[in-house]
């Protein structure tokens, strides 16, 4: 399903079923005039649905660029099937060694860069919450959307797949935020939570953020960001406190 997050950012919501709970493995479309830029390409697991969603969302004209937050398989699994290896579609990736990441023809984006991709100005940010070292967060200056793979995720109930944060009765539940980060960013058990909070505060101070767009969670609207951050900080403290090195 495709859901509008901001006027020109659409969320292509895809879910992986963990039995009782679901986890998003999503992607986003940026519409810039006649051009469409895809942020992440999703998993091979959802290839048919993603291909169909993009076909409909672009009225059959297809994509003009693909930007990868990182080359992990659930994010980069459809680069070729969506034409990312063809001349007509610009491929932008954060890898420092694209050959070793299987993306030898990608245009490189580095942390700290600001690039124009099909008329869209994007900043690439050092991500305080990620798994792979070459990951970048991506800030879209047009709509003020921060793409935050693999942080800011959450599990959700099967009937909440297309929810944005404001659709929940009391925003995204703290327990779902906690369980996602505990399971997926395992290294959080070693952190000093205050160091990550400081890094996140710096990003949210520097950029005007109208929405947060996670790959593995429900999008968070601007008015819900403070509540989400509060729950996230509780999560960081809880994960660190629960792990005892003995």
């Amino acid at each position: 399903m495709t859901v509008s997050v901001t006027p020109t950012v659409k969320w292509v919501a895809q879910c992986y079923d963990h039995n009782e709970k679901h986890e998003h493995v999503s992607l986003y479309l940026l519409e810039e005039g006649d051009d469409v830029v895809l942020v992440d390409s999703g998993s091979f697991y959802h290839r048919e649905k993603i291909t169909s969603e993009i076909e409909v969302a672009t009225d059959g004209s297809g994509l003009d660029a693909i930007i990868l937050s990182h080359s992990d398989y659930p994010h980069a699994g459809n680069v070729r099937s969506l034409g990312g290896d063809t001349k007509g579609i610009e491929l932008v990736a954060s890898s420092g060694s694209p050959e070793q990441q299987g993306l030898p023809d990608a245009r490189k984006c580095s942390i700290g860069d600001r690039l124009n991709v099909k008329g869209r100005t994007l900043s690439f940010i050092d991500p305080p919450l990620a798994d792979r070292s070459h990951t970048t967060w991506i800030y879209d200056h047009s709509d003020g959307v921060l793409f935050t793979a693999d942080g800011f995720g959450n599990y959700h109930e099967p009937n909440q797949c297309g929810f944005i944060s404001s659709d929940f009765d009391e925003m995204i539940p703290a327990e779902e935020i906690y369980e996602y980060h505990r399971d997926n960013l395992v290294w959080l058990r070693y952190v000093d939570p205050e160091k990550i909070e400081k890094a996140l505060d710096s990003i949210f101070t520097e950029f005007t953020i109208n929405a947060v767009a996670p790959v593995h969670g429900n999008p968070i609207t601007g008015k819900d960001v403070d509540v989400y951050l509060s729950r996230l900080y509780e999560t960081l403290s809880r994960i660190a406190a629960e792990y005892d090195v003995g």
Partner: protein
């Protein structure tokens, strides 16, 4: 490029690209770097031969598909490859998994039991291993361990009991200079410079910039006590075969240094 690190354990080495420019080594002049030299952070796979069965740990990157297929043929010959262990489904570690399985229908795919999204990595039908699980190869046993310092949640470390070799995957990697490819650390000129370890971990384990140093170093003490290895065979560095635990001790200084100076950059 291969080298036997102990009888029946083979180091399969992929240099990757020269990192001199990416790491801005000429400008930054880190202690470990010599001006005018090329620098590499390799991808390493390891092939373990038992009396009865053979096991490959990791696959090199997709840039080296032919190399890993040729190395398997050269090292196992007609014996075949019995197990392919993927330490974690990261492209430079697992990028040739299906090329290998296509060539070797006899091979059992082994993957970490950790994490909860194996289907997204096509690992759901693999043999999944966790702490305490082992594979008996005949005269030697590969034992699996929860990965301590990692990136992906679907990760596993391995030890080989006969030689007391620890395979710590993304931990304890470091760059080397052009003429040091496939050298053991004890064969390097001069004293090993711990700033090599800082260069790697300040990039790859980017989250070291956020750790509680005391807690992390206590975990390193736990690892030294648990493994006390004779050999350390990292995925992104040269093999350590002398005083291995002393290099693990060095990692506590690395933690402190990165806490002081922050992240160095990326690797990718």
């Amino acid at each position: 490029m291969n080298r036997e690190i102990a009888p029946g354990i083979h180091w399969i080495y992929e240099a990757g690209s020269d990192r001199t420019e990416q790491f801005e080594l000429a400008e930054r002049k880190p202690d470990w770097y010599e001006s005018g030299r090329e620098a590499y952070v390799p991808q390493c796979a390891y092939l373990v031969e038992g009396d009865n069965e053979t096991l490959l740990f990791d696959t090199l990157s997709p840039a080296s598909t032919d190399q890993i297929l040729d190395a398997i043929d050269e090292l196992v010959g007609t014996r075949g490859l019995d197990y392919l262990v993927v330490s974690h489904p990261d492209v430079p570690h697992a990028g040739n998994t299906y090329a290998i399985l296509e060539e070797h229908s006899e091979t059992t795919l082994v993957a970490p039991a950790y994490g909860n999204d194996h289907e997204l990595y096509k690992l759901d039908e693999s043999l999944q291993v966790a702490e305490g699980d082992s594979i008996d190869l005949g005269n030697r046993v590969a034992e699996f361990h929860e990965a301590t310092f990692l990136d992906a949640p679907v990760s596993v470390w391995m030890t080989e009991q006969k030689t007391e070799t620890l395979f710590p995957v993304d931990w304890m990697g470091f760059p080397h200079l052009d003429e040091e490819s496939l050298l053991f650390v004890d064969e390097l000129d001069g004293t090993f410079d711990a700033s090599r370890l800082v260069e790697f971990h300040g990039r790859v384990l980017f989250w070291y910039q956020y750790v509680d140093v005391e807690k992390t170093n206590a975990e390193i003490d736990n690892l030294i006590e648990k493994f006390d290895p004779e050999i350390i065979a990292p995925a992104h560095g040269l093999v350590i075969r002398e005083n291995a635990s002393e290099y693990m001790e060095l990692m506590k200084d690395v933690t402190q240094t990165i806490d002081n100076q922050g992240r160095i950059g990326t690797l990718g």
